[in-house]
Each structure stands twice: as structure tokens, then as C-alpha cells.
Subunit: 245 residues, 2 copies
DNA sequence: CGTTTCGTTGAAGAGTGTCAAGGCCAGTGG
DNA sequence: CCACTGGCCTTGACACTCTTCAACGAAACG
């Protein structure tokens, strides 16, 4: 997977960016916003299956997804790949390598994407000037920690159907937060990728999708998913055995 | 589990603390150290099975373990408990709730313990004064993210024996880093707690310990563990099938 | 339109979980 | 000092979920 280097100067600053609320602390007065305008120096386009960064790369920048979505992965000693998370518009990538160390994961585009490039030096500088921004970045970091707690919880204590139900509800919620339909969406990743993320084999993912569809909880057309019964999904996550007559 | 409130004023400041290198950035000149001396305002003793903090508690402090060890846990909707991590001397607790939000996990003492209490206000203040400290805290946070990557990797892609081997090697390494024997130590947690952390049942943990012992890789006496064959453990983590004639 | 990747489904098998019984150990009270 | 108690650990037999292996179908791509 070659790294893509198409870089575009950031024509429009943060001031006019629609994702502003994700990158910049809440409740900032409009005339204060100018301070944040120079944070992102460039944009970068990454095509499907290409890497934004790789484990071991020097980490001197953060990225915010502007368009499209990514997965983060690590490779095991045996060469297998474990998916650790999915990142969509507004999400921040690169937090794991903050503070001048190297990246711990690979970030791979699931589709054609565009990101904001925020040099870590700019982050540091603005943090020391603007305490609100310092809190903001640390909040981002601690949210990432909490997100991973959720992953560990799913992997450590849920059965296959429960994991998939939790996964679908999580996706639904994130689509909704971005203004898309919460009940109908297109998966950006393959069954194998979902399986790796959830600690399951791709066949198991496929089977559970089929079972949910047979029970009228969702409809599945390849990557196109429609959620018909949110309550049922929530019940499954809670560990309630489903009747299957 | 009642919360224990025995608080002692921090008699000796950070200057004389033997854990200094964990709390304060590396490479600080001795005459600069005074700036950090007031970080921890108190110590607190927590007895076995008591909580340092609970999920939902307001988070306005960080803690550094001085003595003993903790587990962090979350509760599922069904009341079950998932263990997320173990923390020993020098480790920082409370990072998940930084930035004025609430704690996302419970921190429970595995034995009688003592922690340094570091008000988050002090952290913020020192961060704005001392850029080196800012980087230090963000490094702590990003290390916590990376640690959780490791947990997800173990839970998502390793079999039972591989998980236990990885767990033992991780413990061994952490004991060694603290000046204890890397080959002989006492587990502070029960089989059930290990199982929860590794996504296994306590019987499976017990069986794998027994199998490793039968193969001469370790010896097990209740909580007392001795590692006899590090290479074998590493081979198991790497997924190599062990001959069992 | 062939080729490749991705997805679905079935049958068989391995690996963990579940249930149950018993042993070991530390602490407690007689 | 001993018996009792309760928590923790070990071990066995069995059930079940998930994986593995395999074949096939569908969509995506050059």
C-alpha cells in the first residue's frame, strides 16, 4: 500500500470549515476564532486502500477527516492484521503518536478521502497560548481512551450477535450525529474488516447479518444496511436471548 | 464497596519521591524541579477491594500509584463486570476522565494501596507554564491509548493460551521495570479477574495455567507464578502450535 | 467479458463455556 | 489447638458457539 502524497494548500481556513465544532473548542467567541484559523496548514487526499500513515512513521502531525472514512490497524507478529477502529468525518487521527513519538497504528482509507493536516507544532503552540484549546486536545485524547474502553468491553464480554448489534448501533449513532440517516446507511468496509474489528471471522459476520435479516431486524443488500428494529438490536446488546421460532 | 477517605498530607514532595521519573518529564535540570514539587497535594490510602473512584464520579484529579496495585473496570448493562486494565506503582490513574468530565471506569484496589493525589487544576496550571510538562501529560495519555490498542489486539486476535502467555509476559516485563524479579512474582488478582481482563472464563485461565505447568513452561502455586521458559511463552504468543506429546 | 474480490451458505470440527464436584488455604471462633 | 467457614482454585464431562474448509453466487473492475 503506497503512501499518497497529493497535498493541497488549505484554501479555506478553519473559520469557514463546516467541521469547525469538532476541531475547535466549543463556546469560542467569533472574534476569537481568528486565533485558530492557521491550525491546519494543508489538506491531503488519500485514495482508497492507501495509507495516511503507517505504524513506525514519525508522528509530527494530527489529521482530521474531512471526507470519507478510515480504519486503523496493527499487524501482529504473524503478519495478521487487527482492525482497531473506524474514523469518519470530523474524527481525529494520529492521537496515539502524539508528543513526538512514532505512530503505533496504520491508518488506511476505506474510500477516497480528504484530511486536514495539523502540524503538532501548531497544536503545541496554540495549547500554550489558549488554555481552552489545551483542554480541548486533552478531551480528544481522553475520549479516544474511552472509545477503546468500549472496544475492550465488546471484545471481552459480548457474544457474536451482541457484538454485531452493538456495532450496527454505534455506526447508526455516528451517522446520525453527522446528519445522515440513522436507519439506512452503506458500510464502507468489508465483512472481513468488520470481523477483524469485532474479533470474529468474516463468515460469522455474514451469518449474523443473515440471521438478523431473517428475523426482520435489518435488511442487508451487500454493503447497504437498513435497520428496521432498533429495540431488538438494543435488546440483543443487553444479552437478551432472542426467540427464534 | 465503600470509598475510603483516609487522606494524608504529602509530607515529602515530588522532589524526594522515588517514582519521580514517572510523574515528571525526563531531563529536567535539578534546579527546575522545584516547579513540580507542589503537584501532588495529598496522599491517600485505599484498602483492598475499595474504590479509588467510580464511573460517574466527577473527575478533577489524577492519581499516581505509590504502593500496591489497582484494576479498572466497567459494568455492562446486565451488571456484569469487565476488567480493562491493571495499574501498579508509578502508573497514572484517571486519565480517561481528564478535562473536567466524569470518570468512565471504576478503579478498585487489588491490595492495600497508596496513591498521590494530583488536582487537575495543578496539572493545567503547570502545563501552561511548562511546555515540557504539557508534552509529558499528553505522552501519558497517548501511551494509555497505545496500551488499549494492545488489549484490543489480544482480545481480538489471540486464542486462550496465547492471551495468557501474553499476559504473563506483560506482567513479567512490568515487574522487571520496577526492579522486581521478572521470572517470579505473585499475582495480585484472582483467576476470575484475569479471565475478565482477557475475555476468558476463570476455568479456562486455570486450565491454561495447569497446561503450561505440565509442559514445564511455568510453575503455579496458587497466586505464586514462576516463569521457567520465556522463549516458549513468546513462541505461544506468536501463534506457534506447541507440541504436546 | 473474463477476472478478481467479496459475500453467502453448508457440514464438520475445535476450542471455550457451562455445570458440577471436590480440594486447598486463610481467617475465625470455639 | 482444632473444627468450621467461605473464598479461591482445580479438574472432569458435556454442550454449544464459533471457526474451518469448501463450494458457489454476485458484484466490481479492468
Amino acid at each position: 500500500m503506497p503512501q499518497n502524497h497529493s497535498i493541497a494548500p488549505a484554501k479555506s481556513g478553519c473559520l469557514r470549515c463546516t467541521l469547525r465544532e469538532h476541531c475547535i473548542p466549543q463556546g469560542i467567541a467569533y472574534d476569537e476564532l481568528a486565533k485558530f484559523d492557521g491550525l491546519a496548514v494543508t489538506h491531503r487526499k488519500i485514495r482508497r486502500d492507501e495509507c495516511l500513515f503507517k505504524a513506525g512513521d514519525k508522528c509530527d502531525t494530527l489529521y482530521v477527516v474531512r471526507l470519507g472514512s478510515f480504519k486503523t490497524t496493527v499487524s501482529t507478529q504473524t503478519g495478521a492484521e487487527q482492525v482497531l477502529g473506524f474514523f469518519m468525518a470530523g474524527d481525529t487521527l494520529g492521537l496515539d503518536g502524539i508528543a513526538g513519538e512514532t505512530h503505533a497504528v496504520n491508518a488506511v482509507a476505506l474510500e477516497d478521502t480528504e484530511v486536514c493536516v495539523i502540524p503538532y507544532a501548531n497544536v503545541l503552540a496554540l495549547e500554550t497560548q489558549e488554555p481552552e484549546y489545551l483542554r480541548h486536545v486533552q478531551r480528544l485524547l481522553s475520549r479516544e481512551v474511552v472509545r477503546e474502553h468500549g472496544v475492550a468491553l465488546v471484545l471481552g464480554s459480548l457474544a457474536a450477535e451482541e457484538r454485531i448489534a452493538a456495532f450496527l448501533l454505534n455506526l447508526s449513532q455516528r451517522f446520525e450525529a453527522r446528519g445522515y440517516s440513522k436507519s439506512e446507511f452503506v458500510l464502507r468496509m468489508t465483512r472481513a474488516t468488520i470481523g477483524s474489528y469485532l474479533g470474529l471471522k468474516l463468515e460469522t459476520v455474514s451469518r449474523v447479518f443473515s440471521r438478523f435479516a431473517a428475523d426482520g431486524i435489518i435488511t442487508v443488500n451487500q454493503k447497504h444496511i437498513q435497520i428496521l428494529d432498533f429495540a431488538a438490536l438494543r435488546a440483543i446488546v443487553s444479552g437478551k436471548k432472542r426467540p427464534s421460532p
